[in-house]
């Protein structure tokens, strides 16, 4: 192991002591009635397993490129709508469709990268990690829900998932203030009132998801499925060691095994 590799390794491992120290600090703050830190620490730490998993597997350039395209489409679709009507965004739709077609892991990456990149244009803030988490999880659950099942890729099941995520996304974004409310008053009524106040935003988001999935859903799935088949990337059946990429044979044989 040369010094460069050592440096790379230490850059990764240094996260563990920092994470432990931050959890301790946030816990102490929570004891003193201040819940601001614990939420953001936990949400940041929750991303580590996903990122590690994404790093561990051998990735072909085509897979990375597909994920990047979907993240870019998610980001760009957010920008015009951000000024139009708050929370009426197609991002969740794009992320869910990516999860459905390309699988849970890719869906998580599209959601997280989409949130990160769109905030590079709209403005980073304390909300970025929460959005990365919420959209990442939307993509992840969509992948788990419908990636391997054809009937769940139809309009109605996906629309239900979209509506659920319309609410969940807002609820995740509210967690900071809701947690703060709980630490302040220890009353579920106050927390429920906090959530009730933001209900219109969640309803808008759910309506947006419903609209986009009903109108664009099947056609986008068809389009993306076609690209996935055509280029043989992110196939449904897992091939753990197809790091060596074979342009023609690989594509054909994989095609055949998918049909089985």
């Amino acid at each position: 192991m040369n010094s460069k590799q050592l440096r790379l390794l230490s850059a990764k491992w240094v996260i563990i002591p920092i994470g432990i120290a931050y959890i301790g600090l946030a816990w102490l703050a929570l004891q003193r009635g201040n819940s601001l830190l614990i939420g953001i620490v936990l949400v940041l730490l929750s991303m580590i397993p996903f990122v590690l998993r994404f790093e561990r597997r051998e990735r072909k350039a085509r897979e990375l490129m597909l994920i990047a395209v979907m993240a870019a489409v998610a980001s760009i679709s957010r920008i015009p709508f951000a000024a139009l009507l708050p929370n009426f965004t197609p991002v969740t739709f794009v992320v869910i469709i990516s999860g459905v077609v390309f699988g849970a892991e890719a869906g998580w990456m599209v959601g997280a990268a989409g949130a990160l990149v769109s905030n590079m244009f709209l403005g980073q803030g304390p909300w970025t990690p929460w959005q990365m988490f919420a959209w990442g999880m939307a993509g992840y659950t969509a992948g788990l829900f419908a990636h391997r099942s054809t009937w769940r890729q139809r309009r109605v099941p996906l629309a239900i998932l979209g509506v659920i995520w319309g609410f969940l996304h807002g609820w995740i974004m509210n967690l900071t203030l809701a947690l703060d409310q709980w630490v302040q008053t220890h009353s579920w009524k106050a927390v429920a009132a906090k959530y009730a106040l933001s209900l219109p935003f969640e309803l808008t988001h759910a309506a947006a998801n419903l609209f986009f999935i009903i109108v664009f859903g099947p056609s986008w799935i068809r389009l993306l499925e076609r690209y996935r088949r055509k280029y043989g990337t992110l196939e449904r059946l897992e091939y753990p060691d197809d790091a060596a990429y074979k342009p023609v044979e690989g594509g054909v044989s994989r095609e055949a095994s998918t049909v089985k």
């Binding site: 790379l8 996260i15 790093e55 085509r62 760009i76 990268a113 990149v117 803030g125 409310q181």
Partner: protein, 297 residues
């Protein structure tokens, strides 16, 4: 202003440390006066970086957000001993009002700090840091970032061309518009996917994934970074010590503590202000040396 001047010329790691600490202490030091001072310091940083242009652009959304927190807290939380007013039969307590105010100030402080973050931590610096930890995810983020302006240009081009065929999203019934929108976005998607996969193949052909990814790091850890990191760490250790021994935050519930800053709180305030203003030392130093250079010419 360019990346080679003042605060912005610091190494990404130094900048990350500054913001991690600034945000952490902005959350821990839960005292209205300390947070107000921190906000003022963050505004000063903003004024130094771009004359406060970006900060002014965000004032309205920030003010609305803080006002909402300020108003909502007394309505939602009825904890506290001192009742100021009965709204119907709902008690509005002094403690809850003060807590809401402190929370709003904390948010204001963080958001103001984040505006400077956007100015100082350019995307390139962020991705440089990120690529050390997670090269593949950073590559995806970087490719997506580069694609956004391209996609925007393409979308405009597509809309222009399709309009000449009568396919537009601005005319017709809602269903018609939605269908046309689908077609345009679908075309954009397949266009982009087609050519993204060519890019991917060209990456493959040039040997992507055959070895460890190397990268060009255009950032050097200079002596000014060394000084800044040491000073920031010293400030952070001091602040942590003060905070751990029970100063620098205010007791709100069940009954309101005093606003007065005792010695420990004063140390926390001074430490936080120093922490936030530290990198401006380089801003001043570089301005001075520019003036001297100009004078000599």
């Amino acid at each position: 202003m360019t990346d080679s001047f003042g605060f912005r010329s610091l190494h990404p790691f130094t900048i990350l440390l500054y913001y991690a600490g600034g945000i952490t202490f902005g959350m821990l030091l839960f005292h209205p006066l300390i947070l107000l001072a921190g906000w003022a310091a963050a505004v000063v940083v903003n004024l130094h970086l771009d004359g406060g242009r970006e900060w002014r652009r965000w004032t309205v959304p920030m003010a609305v957000g803080c006002l909402l927190i300020l108003l909502m807290n007394p309505i939602l939380s009825h904890r506290g001993r001192t009742v100021l007013y009965y709204f119907g039969d709902m008690p509005i307590t002094l403690e809850s009002v003060v807590y809401g105010m402190t929370l709003a100030l904390s948010m204001l402080n963080l958001l103001t700090l984040f505006i400077t973050y956007r100015l100082v931590m350019s995307e390139q610096k962020f991705l440089f840091l990120f690529s050390r930890l997670s090269p593949k995810a950073a590559l995806v983020a970087m490719m997506a970032l580069g694609m956004v302006p391209r996609l925007r240009r393409r979308l405009q081009e597509l809309m222009l061309i399709q309009r000449s065929r009568g396919i537009t999203v601005t005319e017709g019934s809602l269903a018609q518009r939605a269908r046309n929108g689908t077609r345009i976005v679908g075309t954009l998607l397949s266009w982009t996917l087609e050519d993204a996969l060519q890019t991917a193949d060209s990456m493959q052909a040039r040997g992507y994934g055959t070895g460890r990814r190397s990268g060009y790091a255009g950032f050097r850890f200079r002596s000014r970074d060394m000084w800044t990191v040491s000073a920031l760490t010293a400030c952070a250790v001091l602040l942590l010590g003060v905070w751990a021994s029970g100063y620098g935050f205010m007791k709100v519930y069940p009954n309101l503590g005093s606003f007065r800053l005792i010695t420990g709180d004063q140390v926390a305030l001074a430490g936080y202000i120093t922490y936030l203003l530290l990198p401006l030392g380089w801003e001043w130093r570089d301005r001075k040396s520019w003036r001297t250079l100009k004078y000599k010419m």
